[in-house]
Subunit: 438 residues, 2 copies
């Protein structure tokens, strides 16, 4: 928690409040709240909560009143449309104890918008120009529903909350935030800034990574370090909350460096970087290995797909095989049928032969092979579901191979995804000329 | 609003509560809450709110206590990991007023899991077997953190709330919901029911689909029909809200049939069905085409990956080629170099030769080929980014080929995804022996 620090106590606290049946019914995934939170964090406004309720006036009223009592800024989105199930303006009017009245500026903007697109304005649209008395209109540059801004004071006037209401349509909400609300909040927040960075690792579990980081993950530390796992990637989230952006940037870099020191080459990238992009960069910069071919069994093309996710991949990837059946391994990659017979298709011996076969049938500097049991069927006591063998052949003139066997937990999709990432990791360490640390 | 109906008032009310710094900071989009809500709606449990707070023990405690006071079921996810920033179990213990103690069943499951995957258990993992005294353990079949279930009574015993705590990792949460929590809630819910079904189409745009559906999409209709688009798939969401499950089921089926009548074979599947699964089923049941090979250029293995996403895919898929470079097309698929020279690698002529080459180099009944410009670079005025050619070769004794050229909008990832799905769609219509409707 980057916010337990005393220096940060003065930070403005916000709550993000979304309204819509489609959200509470789960028919639409709420992407607005995450977007709003990122924008607020970047200007030093701390988001304490996300709350979502249905298009139900009583529930909206109750939520606005309760949430406004425990934050300085309440960002509301949704329920501003022209139809009967849009009730946010009515609820805000009730909480403020003010009647809805036509706002001339809002009505002029509404009429102008309909004229611009040559569409007739239906009577029901007029409601979109109605605002609770005393609220300020916020211009909507991307749609018909204007936003609203109002200050809600507690009865004893000891606490006040600035409420902003925006449409739920992401494009309209984002335009309104960017053009009108964020500039206003930036001055309110006055300096304090959160800077974030995420470092990505692959290969070891979250708890091992946590132990390697030790004190860096201590609660209350600022910058804070937390871990999350997604698709087999264990990521470190570093958040630095400081009064000035310069200080936040400096401290962020220091903590990021400290994390990298603890984890060494386990960290493959940061923020938006994907494993395949990092491998691509290494291939493009390598002096001894500038291209790779693939020979896949259980991953069925996923490894080649990841390598070619990267724009410009034709510079280092020219061909790959999906040899799902044993005969395909024999015919296309010259894996001896007797070897498969004797050792089993899922064996380091076969994966070795696949890698060499792919290296020799391509003009590539290296070849990666994968064969394993992705399940749900096909497991045996000796080779349970999740057993996956890897090969990396290199040095085409006089081929060398390294092989590995791993056992992955999880379901078919998880095993396949982890296998492809593990193959990329083998290649990554080969390109760095460093021994695999696991 | 399906819930304004009097008949529905007695429904069980739930709140979905998510915990995580990454969520309130907006670094991760919360997809769990929407999934949980859909599952609850399907069994007639009404979701009143979604709430999200950071990994802050005081905030978690406060939220659990307040939310539990206004619902019958509280579904909590997140903060059960082994690291210091995971505080949900501590917060639950505080709200319940009970100490954390080692749960023998949870510890046994934890040890078994680590043994199964041959990984050493680190000391920090032991915390994952600690539960507040008196809570029930919920088995985690997909990860290490077990879930918890506890009944929280108000001081006057007038109100009680059943609290379920799950890991935040989507796969683990979903497994726990499906296997343990939903079956328990289903009996609790009894009565008013929302039944949902989603029909999937691929190939035409949302507005065209909307026009074909006409009146069926009218607002206020029950069952309601709405459209959503995700990854190029236009889906119809049908919701039937009725007092009895029998009536809801009946009305749902009637409306789904009416939608299928309007759209014909454009509907490829429903609910969790993926296009590749539908194609797999058709291949397994076909009398004339029981296997398929792949020859991919711009999709780089994605088509083979989709075909092998399906468990048991070895029955119909034995081999595939990723011929990214022109020489790979020539050497592996016998595409004449002069043809590539004359027509360009992205041409229906080359895609035709690739499909025939793949058909002849495999023992498959059909072969799919894809070559195109996924971008961001490589486009020309005649063949802009998004131009993709498809081939489907069949009848190995005397090969026939159909080819198509499509132009897709969007970025590299979108074009590749759409291309692989379009190839599956070509095969689907071939297997149904119906002409492609676009």
């Amino acid at each position: 928690m980057p916010f337990s620090d005393d220096r940060i106590r003065m930070m403005v606290t916000a709550i993000v409040f979304s309204i819509g049946d489609e959200l509470v019914l789960g028919q639409t995934i709420d992407t607005n709240s995450a977007w709003i939170s990122r924008e607020l964090a970047a200007i030093g406004v701390r988001v304490a909560e996300h709350v979502t309720v249905a298009d139900d006036q009583a529930a909206i009223e109750k939520a606005i009143a309760e949430l406004a009592a425990r934050c300085q800024v309440l960002l509301v989105s949704g329920g501003l449309g022209p139809t009967e199930d849009d009730l946010t303006r009515q609820a805000l009017a009730a909480v403020l104890g003010q009647p809805l009245e036509e706002n001339p500026q809002a009505m002029a903007a509404l009429i102008a918008r309909f004229q611009k697109f040559g569409r007739p304005m239906s009577p029901s649209n007029r409601i979109q120009a109605m605002l609770p008395r005393g609220t300020l209109m916020i211009d909507n540059t991307a749609g018909t529903a204007c936003g609203m801004s109002a200050l809600l004071r507690s009865n004893d006037s000891e606490h006040s909350c600035q409420i902003f209401v925006m449409p739920g349509v992401p494009g309209e909400m984002k335009a309104m935030m960017t053009k009108s609300i964020l500039p206003e909040l930036r001055s309110l927040a006055g300096g304090a800034v959160i800077r974030s960075r995420t470092l990505h690792t692959f290969g070891l579990g979250e708890s091992v990574i946590g132990e390697m980081l030790g004190d860096l993950m201590q609660r209350g530390r600022n910058p804070s370090v937390g871990t999350t796992v997604a698709d087999g990637v264990v990521s470190l989230r570093i958040n630095a909350a400081f009064p000035s952006s310069m200080q936040a940037d400096e401290e962020l870099v220091k903590t990021a460096e400290a994390c990298r020191q603890k984890l060494g080459h386990l960290v493959y990238g940061q923020d938006e970087q994907k494993l395949a992009q990092v491998v691509a960069k290494l291939l493009l910069e390598s002096k001894f290995c500038r291209s790779v071919a693939t020979a896949e069994s259980c991953t069925g093309g996923l490894l080649a797909k990841m390598l070619t996710d990267v724009a410009g991949s034709s510079a280092y990837f020219q061909r790959g095989w999906v040899t799902y059946a044993n005969e395909a391994k024999t015919q296309l990659l010259k894996v001896p049928a007797e070897l498969i017979e004797k050792k089993g298709a899922v064996s380091v011996e076969v994966t070795e032969a696949m890698a060499i076969g792919a290296l020799q049938a391509s003009n590539s500097d290296a070849a990666l092979s994968i064969t394993g049991i992705a399940g749900p069927d096909g497991g045996t006591p000796e080779k349970p579901v999740g057993t996956v063998c890897f090969g990396l052949a290199f040095n085409p003139e006089s081929p060398e191979v390294m092989t590995r066997l791993f056992r992955f937990p999880g379901d078919r999709a998880f095993i396949r995804d982890r296998s492809a990432k593990m193959a990329l990791t083998l290649l990554r360490f080969h390109l760095m000329q460093i021994a695999l640390p696991f």
